[in-house]
Structure formats: structure tokens, C-alpha cells
């Protein structure tokens, strides 16, 4: 699906831009080892990711999925889920506010929120891990314009985190990213 990809991602926001089926989501999944390449190497800070603990890698390189997939329970349960897996507890308020959600959301049932709010919970949930890298897989594809703007505002406000954004929308790539990498038919265009 991907071939001959040679790419160095720097500490900035990079957009992987391309039509659906071009392989950009596959590329994203290689970065946190949800999948492995048949050939070639993915390196993180110079080390082959296959030498790293995959669970630790995924905490440092956190993914926001294309569709919200909340775990059962409150918003706070969702935000605390990742850190709890690593044996840490976290105050939900800070990640929620980074994602543009007020503290009043913390006790609400995550499954009862709108899709736009749920997607911001997904962002807060990833940010609660305090990752170095944030992977965003079409984070606004399922949202209306208003909800998209809210998510984009939250992303623009983030500092100190490297972002890799997968999108099929050139305008969004240009709004959010310092660097745009175009992917077509599994190759960098």
C-alpha cells in the first residue's frame, strides 16, 4: 500500500495530505506501531520503533482516531483512561481545557455527548498522556463546520507537542500545518 516513503518528521505540525485510500492513514499507523511495515524501518529519536516497548511508544506518540471511540463511563473516566493504564492518575481539568471543554463536562456520560464534543474528549484523552507527538487521523472528518472549528481552535492553541495530521482537505492542511506532505497512491508526491 505504501512504497518508497522516505520522510523525516520534525518538531512542528506536518500535514499528510491526500485522497482517501492514498495510504496516509496507514503511514500514521506505522508511527505508533499499530501496524508494522513489510519492509523498511520507522525510527523514533533515531531508534527502530521495534526495539521500543510498544505500549510506552503509544503513550509518547498518542493517536486521536478518526471517529470518537469513548470507553464506557464519564468524560473524566475517558480522560483518565490512558494514564490509569500506566498507573498514573490525572486531573481531567487541564487536558479538557486544552481540548476546549469546560470542567463541567468531566462528570457527564461520554456516550451521551455530541460527536463534536466526543471528538474533543478524544483529543483531551490523548493529551492526558502528555505525549511528545500527537497523531491526528482525519480528526474533523465526521464533524460539522462549527464542531470542526472548535477542534481546530484547540489544535492551534497547543504548544510543545509535535503534530502529524492526516487530512484529505488542502485548506485544513494549510490552516493547521507548517509543512504539507502530499501522498498519492502510496508514494510521497
Amino acid at each position: 500500500m505504501l512504497e518508497g516513503v522516505d520522510l523525516v518528521l520534525r518538531p512542528e505540525t506536518t500535514a499528510l495530505l491526500g485522497p482517501s485510500g492514498s495510504g496516509k492513514s496507514t503511514l500514521l499507523r506505522l508511527l505508533n506501531r499499530l501496524a508494522d511495515p513489510d519492509e523498511g524501518v520507522v525510527r523514533y529519536h533515531g531508534r527502530d520503533v521495534r526495539e521500543l516497548d510498544p505500549l510506552e511508544l503509544r503513550r509518547r506518540v498518542a493517536l486521536v482516531p478518526q471517529l470518537p471511540a469513548p470507553v464506557e463511563g464519564s468524560v473524566a473516566d475517558n480522560v483518565g483512561y490512558g494514564p490509569a493504564l500506566a498507573g498514573r492518575s490525572v486531573d481531567a481539568e487541564r487536558p479538557l481545557s486544552l481540548a476546549g471543554l469546560g470542567r463541567e463536562f468531566a462528570e457527564r456520560d461520554a456516550s451521551k455527548l455530541s460527536v463534536g464534543e466526543q471528538q474533543r474528549v478524544m483529543l483531551a484523552r490523548a493529551l492526558a498522556l502528555e505525549p511528545e507527538v500527537l497523531l491526528l487521523d482525519e480528526p474533523t472528518a465526521a464533524l460539522d463546520a462549527e464542531a470542526r472549528d472548535a477542534v481546530e481552535r484547540a489544535l492551534t492553541g497547543l504548544t510543545g507537542v509535535t503534530m502529524v495530521l492526516v487530512t484529505h482537505e488542502r485548506a485544513q492542511a494549510e490552516r493547521l500545518a507548517q509543512r504539507v506532505v502530499e501522498i498519492r497512491e502510496g508514494r510521497i508526491a
Binding site: L55, R58, R59, A62, P65, G82, A86, L129
Partner: protein
Amino acid sequence: MSSVSISLGEVAAALALVAVAAVVSFWRRAELETDLGIAVLRSFVQLTAVGYVIQAIFDSDSLWLVAALLAGMVAFGAFTARGRAKAVPGALGPIALALSLAAVATLALVLALGVFDAEPRYLVPVGGMVIGNSMTAAAVALNRLADEVDSGRARIEAVLALGASSRQAARGLVTRSLRSGMIPLIDSTKTTGVVFFPGTMVGMLIAGAEPIDAVRLQLILLWVLLGSVALAALVSVSLAYRGFFTPAHQLREPA
């Protein structure tokens, strides 16, 4: 227990009721006459053969032969259950282990508690029931597991992406699959004696046993089955979920 004696003539007479089925099929053009014939022939041949095998084992009074027969049942049951849970990668090992463990653990417990004596007369039919019911429970549970993974891929990967191990990511699915495997027997145990009479009791009553003896034996068997089915579902699902993941906690692509 009093014994019954049934002549081949009496068995043949029961064929009259198969004729009723054949007439119904012919009259309503269900085209099942051939299948009915095959079913009658196979049931006659298979049951007669197994009757002689069991008779030989009873006569020999050898526990080794009992163990060999039960091992054969486990192998046959494991292949059958695997056939019904094709979507689960590498399911044969977990199923075989689940059936063996269910059979060994429940029979050992029943013997240790002195419910039955260690004689082929008890071990063969009880072992057969345990393995048969465990096979169904494992197949149902694994089928559900495959459905859960199939419909929940996005959710599972979202949780893996937060640093969950495959075991943590599968916890909810494993629980729901375990429930699916156990609920049918729990439900049929709840309705037993009201909606249907279990086979053992029917057989004992026909054979002339006192109803209260038939009931006690049936209770023992029902309760033994509950334990073995729970074990089989637990072991098969707890081992088989791993087949969906790689050692690096990645969800495998569907085959």
C-alpha cells in the same frame, strides 16, 4: 437400578414414526425423504457401533480405555467447535485445552467428592456429556468473540493507541463472549423440569428407576455441567483472544 430389555423388533416398530415424517415430507414436497433415510441409517449404525464400543469398555473395566475414549471425544469436539468458530485465528489449541480441562477437572472433582465411583459405567456417559456441552459453550463463546472483534475494531485500536495491552483492550470482549457461552446452559438449567425433561431423567424413568433417584442424578449432572461449561468457556476465550493480536499488541488484519 432396574434394567430394561428392548428387542430389535421394538426398535423397528419405532420406524413407523419415521414413516410419518417421510409422508409429511412427500406430501408437502419438502424433499427431505433422502435426508430422513440417511439420518435413520446413520443413527442406527453410529449408535449401534458406539453401543458395542461402550459395552467392550464396560466389560474390560479398564480406566485407560475410558481415558482413550474421552480423549477421542475431546479431539472430535475440538475440531467440531473450531469449524463453528472459523473466524478465530488458531482456535484449535485453546478449544482442545478448554475441553480437556473441563473434562478432567469436573470428573476429578466428582470422583474426589464421591459422587460417582471410578467406573466406566459412570465416567463414559458423564464425560461425554461434559465434553459435548463444553464444546457447544466454547463454540458459542468463540463465535461471539469473533463478532465482537469484527464489529469493535475501531474501538479496540483506539484503546491500544492509548497504551493498553492486548489483554486490557480485549477485557470487555472477553467478558461478553464468556457470558454468551454460559447463558444458554444457565437458562436451560433454570427451566429444567418445567419446559423440558432432561434426557438422563427421562431415560431413568423409562428404565424403571424411582423418580426421586432420577431427580437426584439429574441434579448432579446439571450442576456438574454448569461448572464444566463455565470452565470451558473461560479457558477457550481467555486463550483464543490472543490469536487476534500480535505480540507487539497490534490488532491483526482480518484473514
